[in-house]
């Protein structure tokens, strides 16, 4: 199965990535795309800074992708996660899940995002509009619960 995993500082283009995933394929009937964007938190944020653990980030996302493939009949998966300084409105993460039918694609994309948020080694820190460095974003219990529903 086509599996693409990239950790990068540069922006990505969802349309381009979708075209790459589906090019020359006649068996894919559904592609679900999730894009996570940087919010400005009501005008408070100038940027988010994303730190990651090189090596483990790729390995962990690969393990999560493998779990998704064993649970759903997928025909392709793309996960791109950015690091570095990201401004409000810019994209942070992309998940594409392709399958013959929509249900598997929807569920796999949701599963991948729930696991990414709690298991992939990335950490967000806030940079505020007033020029100061804000706090590290705290993990949310709701994200842990969202992951647990797949157990």
């Amino acid at each position: 199965m086509a599996r693409t995993i990239r950790i990068q500082s540069e922006p990505f283009d969802t349309a381009v990535e979708t075209a790459i995933l589906t090019e020359g394929r006649a068996d894919i009937g559904a592609v679900v795309a999730f894009t996570g964007l940087c919010r400005d938190e009501g005008g408070r944020l100038a940027a988010l800074e994303l730190e990651h653990y090189p090596g483990m980030a790729e390995a962990e996302i690969d393990r999560i992708a493998g779990q998704a493939e064993s649970r759903w009949p997928l025909l392709g998966l793309t996960v791109i996660h950015r690091f570095g300084r990201i401004s409000p409105g810019e994209e942070i993460v992309l998940v594409l899940a392709a399958s013959a039918h929509r249900q598997a694609a929807f569920e796999a994309a949701s599963f991948l995002m729930d696991y990414l948020k709690t298991q992939a080694p990335f950490w967000k820190r806030e940079h505020l509009k007033d020029g100061t460095t804000g706090a590290w974003v705290e993990a949310k219990e709701a994200d842990d619960r969202a992951m647990e529903r797949w157990a």
Partner: protein, 83 residues
């Protein structure tokens, strides 16, 4: 053995990574944390709430009771907030 730190654990310890020679009797992640906390205030601050800091051995998430025998790289970091 190489230790690496991320996010606020890195800031509290004051370094991104270090090589350490472990004394005998350090068999698990929990043993390693206990030993680190005895090395100075920056470590006791970073690990003040042991239930919060997560660990990975050679790029794999582990629990405190996990063995560190034969590990090349052990990482400590806060709960993850990616996505």
């Amino acid at each position: 053995m190489k230790l690496v730190y991320f996010a606020w654990v890195r800031e509290r310890v004051g370094k991104t990574d270090e090589d350490v020679e472990l004394p005998e009797g350090i068999g698990t992640v929990a043993d390693l944390v206990r030993w680190l906390k005895g090395r100075g205030e920056e470590y006791s601050y970073a690990f003040e709430n042991e239930g919060v800091v997560r660990a990975a051995v050679d790029h794999v998430h582990v629990k405190p009771e996990a063995s560190i025998a034969g590990a090349r790289e052990i990482a400590f970091f806060p709960p993850m907030t990616g996505g």
